[in-house]
Amino acid sequence: MLQPNVNDSSGGEALLQVNGVTLQYRTPERRVTATYRVDFDIHPGERLVLLGPSGCGKSTLLKAIAGFIRPVEGSIRLSGAPITRPGPDRMMVFQEFDQLLPWKTVRHNVTYPMRCNGVSAEEANRRAEQVIESVNLSGFIDSYPHTLSGGMKQRVAIARAMAMRPYILLMDEPFAALDALTRRKMQEELVALWEAVGFTLIFVTHSIEEAVLVGSRVVVLSPHPGQVCAEINVDHLGGPNSSGEDFQAACRRIHDLLFPSAGEAQ
């Protein structure tokens, strides 16, 4: 049932449809509206970035797509079927380094979700070795997570998610806790991996640069409560064969959308 989405961004059916989604979360004192009537689609093979200032509900939105939160209004559909709970067809990479199971080696961290979902041991191992190779961690395949650096842990988490061959890969600021140099390297590696393997990605970030580097299309969300204020194509602006000017222009455009008053002042 799970199959990789090859680079097929040529229009066609949307893979995931988010329609008028209002999300609320509860604190002990109040009910807070995180996003208000958000709409967007994602097509197979896209790298969609949800970008917005902190508190705009972008992480909450991603959790709703993952199935951890039910929308109070609107619907989220994956291939036409409403999302009701978390599942292996929407593997998620979290920001925190402790998302790996500390009691399993890198290899078994990658094979475990596959084994939980009925992939044979041989097949799981074959896929694990392949995907660990693709994130350049073959030398650490039998290490325990606590011996790895933060960047390596995030690579394992990405490998683990990719090996499941989900419909969509969800990433919640996966590089935010890394140092700047490692972060930049990981962003480039992620795009290279997408070019090599091909998958559909939803990526949450609050960094404009990261959005333009990683994404093919950016959904810009307004501050609290989050609403879609723009969708912008940014494909191949950040790659090595891009002119820096296009990249800068896209960043500036998004910046002005996010901070309208600052834009007028300039």
Binding site: A66, F68, R85, P86, G87, P88, R90, M91, M92, F94, E96, D98, Q99, L100, L101, P102, W103, Y112, P113, C116, N117, Y144, P145, H146, T147
Partner: protein
Amino acid sequence: MIDAKQAGVRPPFVSPVKRQDFTRKVVPVSEIGTIEVPLPWTQRIWNSSLVRRGVILVILAIVWESYGRWLDNPLSFPTLSETLTSLWTDIASGTIPERLQVTLRILLMGYGLGILLAALLTTLAVSTRFATDLLSTLTAMFNPMPAIALLPLALLWFGLGVPSLIFVIVHSVLWAVALNTHAGFLSVSNTLRMAGQTFGLRGLRFVTGILIPAAFPAILSGLKIGWAFAWRTLVAAELVFGVSAGQGGLGWYIFEKRNLLETSGVFAGLITVMIVGLFVEGVIFQTIERLTVRRWGMHGG
């Protein structure tokens, strides 16, 4: 020269002078020579906790022997050598191994049953809120209750014999293990829980696949505490109602020796209790810890 009075005083601000850029070649690693040097063997040996503990034991033994000789009153405080002699005699004659076996068998039955019940209770407690409240109320009520205090009641219900002893052991194990396990489950990070859910794990598979291993450090410390409680409770119960096991255990052995005024035998019994405790803590639990939480890097937060 900076005057002592002036040291630590902030120098007045002047705009910085522009300094030259420079680049320079670093010395390659191969030319630096040794980067890692092994510590001298004396330090390496002293780093082993086994060696340090051994030294402590030797010191304690010397203190004991000299105090015993100085006191010269075998009825109240026999020397170490006398104690070891009677320990050896009773081990050789098979008395201590036999008593120990009786004690350990009952202990393992009670310990196992206690853990089983604790597992059941905590699994229920993570799945429904009502069971959570049930568990915390029961633990709050029963955890502070000394198991020995329940022994008269147990004797009333189950009569003189193994079931009574098992009852009090289960009581002493259950609450400690359940409390620790539950606390461990609650402290499993939200990220790890969500990761498990995205794998499609739910219910019992989620508990065994994610919660138990993630809470294993807490579970292990619960098991240790439970073991210590069980061991203490059993020896104490045997001391009080020793013969109730039908065939006496280690506590009964100590009681007997006291009645015979063989103080060195009492000490031999106590030493056996200590040795078993040290063995379980130092060998069994240490091994489990080394193979699990240490290897996984989950010890000490």
